[in-house]
């Protein structure tokens, strides 16, 4: 297992994409922090504003960008191996497939958690140094800012592991990236609309809250459904959402793990 971890850390560290994805994520986190801070100079955004800043846009982004970029880190963890044929040298160095897969899960998860914490820290620092803002004066209260910040880190990790799972499932880098974007942005959007706006399906509209990416997004929720004046939909609580998305991720990884063990390299 140690050998697999060393391989995976070296693989991640020597990839150029690891660093530009990190750079873009930091720019996004800092940029959104600045926008919120700027907005907070003239408006009282309160604790919700802090939560939004710490989660790179949080629930107001259709898909927050840093978790998407974390998803790419996950896709690359296995997708590159198949795209460039390095899976065979990798398994020649670490022939225990479960060890290699576990190392990919652990290193991808730990790395994106570190990045997630770093992004929260960057956003908070931007708020602190921005003159005149009023959202970061009292530290980070647990609800909602602290909870959302934790949810943001968890969301980063889960998106990364979903990316890893999709890459293992498809063994095709472009297909995994497309699925990573199409499922939350298109498929879940269509299902959400169908379940909530087709009268014949009203009885099963509660399924909406089990749409995995949407459920994961619930971890960033600061407003309850309908609070902002729109229609109310069946939605998961932040904890429920995290659990639903985690179960989906675990199931996807489980299938990928079995395929990785059984199929030719």
């Amino acid at each position: 297992m140690t050998a697999a971890l060393r391989y995976e850390v070296a693989r991640l560290r020597t990839l150029r994409s690891t660093w530009w994805l990190l750079g873009v994520s930091i720019v996004v986190a800092a940029g959104i922090g600045m926008i919120v801070a700027w907005a907070a100079t003239a408006n009282d955004l309160g604790d919700n504003g802090l939560a939004i800043a710490l989660s790179a846009g949080g629930e107001f982004s259709p898909v927050p960008l840093p978790p998407v970029l974390a998803g790419l880190v996950g896709v690359f963890a296995l997708g590159h191996e198949y795209r460039y044929g390095t899976i065979r040298p990798a398994l020649s160095a670490v022939p225990q497939r479960s060890s290699l897969m576990l190392a990919k899960v652990v290193v991808t998860g730990v790395w994106t958690a570190i990045v997630g914490v770093a992004l929260v820290a960057v956003a908070y620092l931007v708020l602190l140094v921005f003159p005149g803002q009023n959202v970061a004066a009292n530290g980070i209260p647990w609800d909602p800012a602290g909870r959302v910040a934790l949810g943001f880190v968890v969301l980063m990790v889960l998106w990364a592991l979903v990316g890893l799972g999709l890459a293992g499932l498809t063994r095709n880098l472009p297909a995994a990236i497309v699925l990573l974007l199409v499922i939350p942005l298109v498929v879940e959007g269509i299902l959400f609309a169908v379940l909530n706006f087709v009268p014949a399906l009203a009885d099963i509209s509660w399924l909406t809250k089990y749409l995995p990416f949407g459920a994961g997004q619930a971890m960033l929720t600061t407003f309850s459904p309908g609070e902002l004046g729109g229609p109310e939909f069946e939605a998961a609580t932040p904890l429920e959402g995290g659990i639903i998305f985690a179960i989906f991720t675990a199931a996807l990884l489980g299938v990928t793990w079995v395929l990785f063990e059984r199929k030719d390299a």
């Binding site: 050998a3 697999a4 060393r6 391989y7 850390v9 070296a10 693989r11 020597t14 990839l15 150029r16 590159h80 460039y84 044929g85 390095t86 065979r88 040298p89 990798a90 398994l91 020649s92 160095a93 670490v94 022939p95 225990q96 059984r262 199929k263 030719d264 390299a265």
Partner: protein
């Protein structure tokens, strides 16, 4: 000392049998060539040996399966694909990633890059590497852990003549130190110069394995050629001795089934005057084509016409 024992290897792709109950040994101290027509299952066999493809059978390296080896790169070096690297990760880092998994020092990456002649591109991204450079990088990866066994799939592909000569010399020297080399190649002339033992397969099945000399001498192209002004009496004696005799141009005879000495003795006994007595050894290519005739996965029309042409000129 390292012995590879492959037993009952098998692999199916749907209804197609790629490797069928294949067993062979690879000994240390020599180069073992792995031959077979296109699509005969050579690469699949190598992947099965390393546990990269799922199939049946077992392969052991000094009694241990590959997956059981502690730091396998320090025991078995493998070259499977010429361009199995990330295009934007430098050649040095490509090796360092593999070294990290195998408790190999970072410095070793530079050593093997220098050994294969890639030290000048160590910090270059390999996306623009030629096939030959890719092979050299793959070979560097195989040598990274200073293994006692090398398994190389078509390592000469893309190498220039100097590179091929270098590879041949290296592999022979490596094997001469008591190490084990198992190498597949389509370059039969190269294999004839390099290999001591052969494993020949066709359609995934073992055709033969053993010393190169035995393989070549068993081919029908290997014959005792006899020349003389009147060989009629010798021909009669050869027929009685159950030798296979063919008539060659200019009245010469080709004899299969008897040694040069035996044919000479027969001529002496029959008081046949000879102008020439020599053994013509078949080339490895002739022996290979004869051994694998009918087992090609992909047939080429020119082969048939070429064989006819050869037959008519003998």
């Amino acid at each position: 000392m390292a012995v590879i024992e492959a037993r009952g290897l098998g692999k199916r792709y749907g209804s197609t049998v790629a490797v069928d109950d294949l067993s062979f040994d690879v000994r240390s101290g020599g180069v073992t060539g792995f031959l077979g027509p296109n699509g005969s299952g050579k690469s699949t066999t190598i992947r099965l040996m390393l546990g990269l493809d799922r199939g049946v059978g077992t392969t052991t390296f000094d009694g241990q399966r590959f997956v059981e080896l502690d730091h396998p790169m320090q025991q078995v070096g493998a070259l499977l694909d010429a361009k199995a690297f990330h295009p934007t990760r430098t050649a040095r880092n490509h090796l360092r990633v593999l070294a990290a998994a195998s408790k190999i020092s970072k410095r070793r990456a530079d050593d093997v890059l220098e050994f294969v002649g890639l030290e000048s591109v160590a910090t270059k991204k390999p996306k623009n590497f030629s096939l030959g450079m890719g092979q050299r990088l793959g070979l560097a990866a195989a040598l990274l852990g200073e293994p006692h066994t090398l398994i190389l799939d078509e390592p000469a592909n893309g190498l220039d003549p100097a590179g091929i000569q270098w590879l041949r010399s290296f592999l022979k020297d490596f094997a001469a130190k008591g190490h084990t080399v198992f190498v597949s190649s389509h370059l039969l002339a190269e294999m004839a110069l390099m290999a001591d033992q052969l494993v020949v397969i066709g359609r995934g099945r073992l055709i033969t394995s053993g010393p190169v000399e035995a393989f070549v001498s068993a081919a029908s192209g290997t014959a005792v050629v006899v020349r003389g002004p009147d060989l009629a009496a010798l021909r009669e004696a050869l027929d009685r001795a159950d030798a296979k005799v063919t008539e060659l141009p200019e009245g010469a005879l080709g004899v299969v089934g008897l040694t040069q000495e035996e044919v000479g003795d027969l001529a002496y006994e029959r008081n046949v005057h000879l102008h020439g007595l020599m053994t013509r050894t078949a080339s490895l290519e002739e022996a290979f084509l004869e051994a694998t005739a009918g087992s090609e996965e992909f047939h080429l029309d020119y082969r048939a016409s070429s064989a006819e042409t050869e037959g008519s000129t003998r």
